[in-house]
């Protein structure tokens, strides 16, 4: 009988190294890398229950779904599907835990968060591999970005627990109560940390639902909560899909909803809570502009374009998916971008040299492919990265960019959530700013120029909650993150992020 762990082990990437084809690589003038597979294989149970009131329990319906490795299409584990009854049990546990947890002196609450941060650091490698197996992102990203930042979020917020009275002048800090939190699949553990750390630091208790395609690291976090002795009920983790999320949103025992995901679902949630007293914060979609002025340092800007759109396969709400290049340097930038993209390694996410891993799910791959078709149909020209074979198994998409894009094209207006870049040009700074702002979204933006006054003027005039100047896709627990307009409301991170978790 084979366990999920055996199955995971049997997926060793050494059997079929899905990396760039040698001839293609030689043809494109880059060095071939030897496979560098990550050797650690975390133990994965055959099945996982719901984490309610400090322990794992079976779902009342006995229904389960599977989570797979999108790079191999192999099943990793069976996951419990929480129904309304299970969500109710989780909310009751959170409610029961609330008085003691919120009454605990901040100094004591802080210690629990510090312990979680430490355990995340100590178990970082295992978590990174698990994140990559469950979600498809390159191991170097889960290792260097997701897991360290998740630990940093707990560490940063730990220190807030006993300083809340200093954070907001004139406001007496009180917890909001029971928080229902729903997170996406693009940064599974990191999003869990973004949600849970500020909530429990402020004395709230939570019911968190990870995305159905990436529940494993959140369940590991549940194990860590139990392991460090977090009082039962403070953190409850219920797994499931949309129906489970709806049960959380609609539960009358919840005081606040925090959601990260699509604008479409965000609006549904806003409607659902409208007749209630529930508070709401939303971190939603984007179609962020990355603006390259002619006086930019072009090689750095090209790095920034790549970082902006191909990081995490483009599964990033703040991805720089609309590139605006000043007309005078358009040809140069496109030529350099094409050269740079030839060196991107697409393939086995567990290979330490891989730059672009697997698309998170079959459904997401289909969505991306639909946009690739629409881009071509609407008359844009597609430029693919590299020429090597993609792995035969798993959900992979070659990173690409489109030129000849009109602002009316779907690929220039809608969030694709994939490694697809729409390249457009502009003549004047005025035009760049007005086109960048001409979207219902307002999450992030990038600006590239070596001229100081121009960069700050542009940053000021862009309708975006996060503006990266001469850099892109940087995150930090001390740095507030969140959008303008239909990219949602509320901030996560830093002092501003605490505000949503205090009454």
């Amino acid at each position: 009988m084979s366990t999920a762990a055996d199955r995971a082990r049997s997926e060793s990437p050494t059997q079929a190294p899905p990396r760039l084809d040698l001839r293609a690589a030689a043809g494109s003038g880059i060095f071939e890398y030897a496979p560098a597979p990550e050797s650690v294989r975390p133990a994965i149970a055959d099945r996982y229950g719901l984490f309610i009131n400090g322990r794992f329990t079976d779902p009342t319906s006995s229904k389960r779904f599977t989570t797979i490795n999108p790079a191999t299409e192999q099943t990793l584990a069976e996951i419990a599907e929480a129904n309304e009854q299970d969500v109710d049990a989780a909310v009751k546990a959170a409610r029961a835990a609330l008085p003691a947890w919120s009454a605990l002196p901040g100094k004591e609450r802080a210690k629990y968060l510090y312990r979680i941060a430490r355990r995340l650091q100590e178990r970082a490698r295992e978590l990174a591999v698990l994140e990559t197996m469950d979600g498809g992102k390159p191991i170097k990203e889960s290792r260097d970005v997701d897991i360290p930042l998740a630990a940093a979020h707990f560490f940063h917020h730990a220190g807030w627990a006993d300083k809340l009275q200093y954070a907001f002048p004139g406001r007496e800090p009180k917890p909001v109560g029971v928080c229902g939190q729903i997170i996406p699949w693009n940064f599974p553990l990191l999003m869990a940390a973004w949600k849970i750390a500020p909530a429990i630091a402020c004395g709230n208790t939570v019911v968190l639902k990870p995305a159905e395609t990436t529940p494993l690291t959140a369940l590991r976090l549940a194990e860590i909560c139990a392991e460090i002795g977090l009082p039962p009920g403070v953190v409850n983790i219920v797994t499931g899909a949309g129906a489970t999320g709806a049960a959380i949103v609609n539960h009358p025992g919840i005081d606040k909803i925090a959601f990260t995901g699509s604008t479409e679902v965000g609006k549904l949630i806003a409607r659902a809570v409208a007749p209630t007293r529930k508070r709401l914060t939303l971190e939603l979609g984007g179609k962020s502009a990355n603006i390259i002025f002619e006086d930019a340092s072009i090689d750095q800007a090209v790095e920034g374009i790549v970082e902006g759109i191909y990081f995490n396969q483009g599964h990033v709400c703040c991805a720089g998916s609309r590139l605006f290049v000043q007309e005078s340097i358009l040809d140069t930038v496109i030529a350099k971008l094409r050269d740079r993209m030839r060196t991107l390694r697409v393939g086995d996410p567990l290979d330490k040299n891989t730059d672009v891993g697997a698309i998170n799910s079959k459904a997401q791959l289909a969505t991306i492919e639909k946009y690739l078709e629409s881009g071509a149909e609407e008359g844009a020209e597609r430029h693919d990265c590299g020429s090597g074979e993609l792995p035969a198994k798993g959900y992979f998409c070659r990173p690409c960019f489109f030129t000849g894009v009109q602002p009316s094209h779907a690929i220039a207006r809608e969030e694709i959530f994939g490694p697809v870049l729409a390249v457009m040009s502009f003549r004047t700074p005025e035009e760049a700013i007005s086109r960048a702002n001409n979207t219902p979204f307002g999450l992030a933006a990038g600006v590239w120029t070596d001229k100081g006054s121009k960069i700050f003027d542009t940053a000021r005039r862009l309708d975006a909650g996060v503006v990266w100047l001469n850099t892109y896709n940087k995150f930090d627990p001390t740095s507030p993150f969140g959008g303008f307009k239909e990219s949602g409301f509320g901030r996560e991170g830093g002092r501003h992020g605490l505000s949503a978790y205090l009454a």
Partner: protein, 282 residues
Amino acid sequence: MGERLGISKTYKLFIGGKFPRTESGRSTAVNDASNALVAHVCHASRKDLRDAVEAAAKAQDGWANATAYLRSQIVYRLAEMMEGKRAELAAAIGDGGADEVDLAVDRVVHFAGWCDKFSMVMGGANPVAGPYHNFTVPFPVGVTGVVCPDERPLLGLVSMVAPVIAMGNACVVLASETNPIPAMVLAEALATSDLPSGVVNILTGFRDELCPHFAGHRGIIAIHAAGVSDAQRTALRLGAAENLKRVTIRDAVNFANDAACEGPAWCEPFVEFKTIWHPSAV
């Protein structure tokens, strides 16, 4: 000759610095405690709201881009203009009017001072773990719909409006339904203040009728309401979901209590925080 017959006034709307009649042609009588006619006020329609949002949208960028120091002086100037209309404002309020005017003028002065201080208190320089200069600064959220409570018809209104304009936003205001006259007297002070036309627009009318239109108008990005019923609250939140308006509804505020309705927490819903990164190592 008998006793002189007083001239009863019909108060018009205040939109884009002008005083138009409602396009609907509707008006409502306002009576005093003894049920004697005081004046007529316009009963604003959805079309009036749209005109007011248009005027606010035109004023938004200029006001948002004015320096904080200039905005501060202009809001303070409003307090000066109100001081000059003390008697008229107090009479419009009725019983306890003089005290309410004092509180209202002081409230405006309080928020005038926040224009150039909010960013210092509520923005920040964030110590990120890397070679980056990272800072968070507030920007005006944009055109805001303000739904005022019935009680404290002047003080309630200025407490709801002052933080909105202090943060650099233009607004469309629905005055107290039961006594809208102080709001329209205030409009006369606004019209002769230095506040650019369209920054504050005031409608008189019915909350039940207009709340869904405030909530549904795509040109409004934030809502500030007090004194609304549960049904009005739901209408505001439901309509707001369509374009994800930022909705702030104040519950049971004692407007006479400074601690309850002053300070940065009253300004915070009317800004968007923008966080800016730049490498700081060469």
